[in-house]
């Protein structure tokens, strides 16, 4: 065959006069008065190939048989296009190749959708024919971006003397955390490996080993019910360091983000990142991953409305709840229907109703205003900076609900009022997360992050009195309303670790049984250490300007964890199960009634 000498998209006017061979796919073919024009596509772009019977009757005849997505090789001369056929929309639009020889390398059936950007087709069809979907330039660019992003991470971490270490995929099931994927052992009947939810324990052991700076772009697995932005397997840039303070680590990670955004997209990210405590983030934005590209801060109004004639406010506060308000600047002009439509939106986040006030002609208007005193109105006006044209939205409930409702209303208003600059990348650290939270089902505290997260030094005294009030040296990296990474400084002193397990309700024996090998390791000289993990899929999604995580993954799975292209998972031969000493509990009937999507 004729092997390519050049890439289609890389030829320029400099190549005029050269004889070149190109290989690629027929993007489209046109016949203009007996002359054939083929747009030839490879990974680099498109080049117009011209088949004029006057150059070669044979080549013209063969080209005439080529159809869309045929794979061809052409040899010819690079020439300047005629003035009238110049295509300013194409990087290679000023030149073309006059073909003297063509070889059809492979044929193609008509594809089920066009191989071009901005197609409007069902995603499941794209996933079934992923190998064709990935031919589309936007998908190629996203995967290229992902490859570049991985390289940017590696280059930076290498320059900071991080070692890449691979940790096992066939590892041990641990009872805390999310649901594990399990792998039956053939050699050890009745025993199972688990796929890692993260390399957490191994990276801490590498610090015990004295590796000091470790990273890995690691595949992680969680068998959870999938949301649109979750995948059963996902990729995290996993980082752990010894002998660094929290601030040294966070500073280094900021530089890493700057390098990533600069080298992949030429974007200048501003540093230092804003640092918000968890409490501040929740109080101001109703979220631990606030979108900071716009203001609209939430205000606490408990003190103002605790004796309000609006009975629901007063009673919520009396029962230990809170009342907070959001001034939706400029939304006071919305129609009654538009305002009423906010209630079902708020209900999705647990709101039982949605109280509101319009500010018009200097007056507060709305159903609840008549129950309010003059003083109340004046105080609210001041607290919220309420002006003509504003819409004040209230949430009164348990703290958690109020955060969720107002946090999401804030995002809705921000989007609807065009307060968000799509070109802006606003990073922040959310720090000082709670160490533990109370699990009503288990009737005990559970670790918010994991049981190896270090408490703040100044909160250590609370272990014995009020663990629920303790804060952790844990931090999340937040970007434009997404959590793109997170981590913590880890406990490295035996006595602190013991107190932590006691606070979580573990007996020393239970702790040993569940985390024995790590606890043992901790006794042999563990350095102070801490780390971060970044979600590569999500970062690439944000870099690509997409909102669909599946667009960033070459072969993703659906919400039911199915690969539509290979049809995995599937049934396997009985012999395979017998070798693994397992049997399925599924009868054929039972199975058939199971939904498949």
């Amino acid at each position: 065959m004729m092997y390519k000498t050049h890439h289609c998209g890389k030829l320029t006017k400099e190549n005029i006069g050269e004889t070149v061979t190109l290989n690629g796919w027929v993007q489209r073919r046109r016949d203009l008065g007996g002359v054939l024009f083929i747009d030839l596509r490879d990974r680099s772009g498109i080049m117009q190939a011209v088949f004029n019977p006057e150059f070669s009757a044979e080549a013209h005849a063969i080209a005439d048989r080529a159809r869309n997505e045929f794979v061809i090789a052409v040899t010819g001369t690079v020439v300047l296009r005629d003035e009238e056929t110049i295509n300013k929309n194409l990087p290679t639009g000023e030149i073309e190749v006059r073909v003297t020889e063509i070889e059809i390398l492979n044929q193609a059936k008509n594809p089920p959708f066009f191989i071009e950007d901005d197609i409007e087709i069902d995603e499941s069809l794209r996933l079934r024919y992923r190998y064709l979907d990935l031919r589309r330039p936007e998908m190629q660019q996203t995967l290229m971006l992902r490859s570049k992003a991985a390289k940017a991470f590696r280059d930076f971490l290498d320059s900071e003397e991080f070692m890449e270490v691979e940790t096992p995929i066939l590892t041990k099931s641990t009872p805390e955390g999310a649901r594990d994927y399990l792998v039956p052992s053939r050699v050890h009947p009745g025993e199972f490996y688990a796929l890692p939810q993260s390399p957490q324990l191994f990276k801490q052991l590498l610090m015990v080993s004295g590796m000091e700076r470790y990273y890995q772009i690691a595949r992680c697995f969680r068998d959870e019910d999938l949301r649109a932005d979750r995948q059963p397997e996902f990729t995290q840039v996993d980082i752990e360091t010894s002998f660094l303070s929290r601030d040294q680590l966070l500073d280094m990670m900021e530089k890493l983000m700057v390098h990533l955004f600069k080298t992949t997209k030429g974007i200048d990210v501003a540093t230092p990142f804003q640092r918000l405590t968890y409490d501040d983030a929740m109080n101001k934005y109703g979220s631990d991953k606030p979108d900071l590209r716009f203001g609209l801060e939430i205000q606490d109004v408990c003190d103002i409305v605790q004796n309000s004639g609006v009975k629901v406010f007063a009673s919520v506060i009396e029962n230990g709840g809170v009342v907070k308000a959001l001034n939706a600047k400029g939304c006071g002009t919305w129609s009654r229907k538009e305002i009423d439509d906010l209630a079902p939106f708020a209900a999705r986040y647990g709101a039982k109703g949605l109280a509101w006030i319009q500010v018009k002609d200097g007056e507060f208007k709305g159903p609840i205003v008549k129950f309010m005193s003059e003083e109340e109105i004046a105080a609210l006006r001041e607290r919220l900076g309420a002006e003509d044209g504003d819409l004040i939205l209230f949430s009164a409930d348990k703290k958690k609900v109020v955060y969720d409702v107002l946090g999401n209303l804030r995002l809705l208003v921000g989007r609807r009022m065009n307060l968000i600059n799509d070109k802006e990348y606003k990073f922040a650290w959310v720090v000082d997360f709670p160490l533990v939270e109370y699990d009503e089902d288990a009737k005990r505290y559970v670790a918010l992050h994991h049981p190896f997260t270090r408490p703040l030094e100044e909160d250590l005294h609370l272990f014995d009195t009020d663990p629920g009030k303790m804060r952790a040296e844990a931090y999340d990296v937040v970007l434009n309303g997404y959590e793109v990474g997170g981590g913590s400084m880890r406990i490295y002193k035996r006595d602190v670790q013991e107190k932590m397990f006691a606070a979580l309700g573990f007996s020393p024996e239970e702790a040993q049984e569940q985390f024995g090998f790590l606890l043992n390791a901790f006794e042999y000289g563990t350095p102070p250490h801490g780390g971060v993990a970044f979600g590569l899929d999500r970062l690439v999604m944000l870099l690509a300007g997409s909102t669909n995580l599946r667009e960033t993954i070459a072969f993703p799975k659906t919400a039911s964890a199915t690969d539509l292209m290979t049809d995995a998972p599937n049934e396997v031969a009985l012999k395979q199960l017998e070798e693994l000493h397992i049997r399925t509990k599924v009868k054929k009937e039972e199975k058939k009634s199971e939904p498949n999507a």
Copy 2:
């Protein structure tokens, strides 16, 4: 705490006079006349810290409590050592740090073995305490080397415009090939994912997608009975290209190896690599992964001994076997016992006996000589270049046995006679492998590589008459007797693929059922493509000068696929199995009788 300003092993005489803070582990502590000397170790090396009560009584008192493997922070001044305490064996042996402040960051129990190189302890103890084993400098250097090797691969492939693409770990079980690890699906009862034996199908699909140049440093899984140099999970550098000829690809891969060896170890690898056909490799060296650092080529002597008075030679040839000989240069002086000891060695590879001839004083000597004619002896002498002091070893059997026996005798002689230069790295390509081999059990041909390997163009006509004679465009990269990589050009034309499946005894329906999604993909414009995969574990082993694959892996498994540190695999909660719709077929009794190693 006092965070490190410098790394222990990176301080030089240039730092004399500076105040530095170091963090690390106590390698050893000596008390010389009331002055304490601590060898402080971090990833970079060792620095001597001196605690003289005259500098700081407090620091001296604290240092006195430190024991081996304690984690400490010290601050002090870099000074030149006294003449008599200079240690020329240590890169930092001319300087020391006069400590004025010390902080014990963590204590350590006495480790189960010394944290130093060349320890003679049971490997299972090292694996159980892998986090301590990895503290030893030689293990740190090997993991560092592995990290560097991965980077060398990536940098080269990046410079050649390869894209890194991640392919799924949760994928589909396919019936051909080695045994799969399976993962039961919770969402789809009775169905299973399989862990990939390699990304083979996905990388070919990426070529269908037009990615042109793909790579991935990919984890692969094979549930096989493990030998010393196999692991249930291993890492391969997986590469696939479109629109390259075989020779273009092999040339590029040679440059890749040159880059790898140069940047990781400063070794200059000679190119072009020797290219041997499979037939040549087997005939000359009795192996498809010959060690080419020495000669000792095997000679066919069938024509000479076919009518020999040595009955076993004549009868083997009559029954379709072969007789080959190896001239073990210089081994003619071995004692009778040394020669006799070769027989049980040969028997391991299937030899029923081992005929031999010593050449002494111009004469052939040995039990079989008396059955040979003068002409036979003269012909053997010439064919084998036999001279005084030589030992000629014969193997007469089926071809496969003869290759194995003489190939391994050749290696034994090469090692014993010191013919092998340990510092030499001799690469070769073994090409033109057989396309298929006959499987006596299945009574059909099976693919030697896999069913998508392209046959040599000139052998295509044999599909209908004698597939067993067909050669494939498959190639292995061989280094010093190890296969370090391999690959092939792939079939990309539908008609060739159909003939291949027919040759393997598949009906078109069976082919569709087993490889449907790939066959379908092949209909939509598949480019000519081919690739390679390198074994990273094995390459790092060779770069590190080791012979144990486990030394190159941070957390390896034993021969029974157990992780001795975490104790994986292990039993899991019944609830987990129920969620996965499986049960184990193991009764407690049954399980207990199962050997655990």
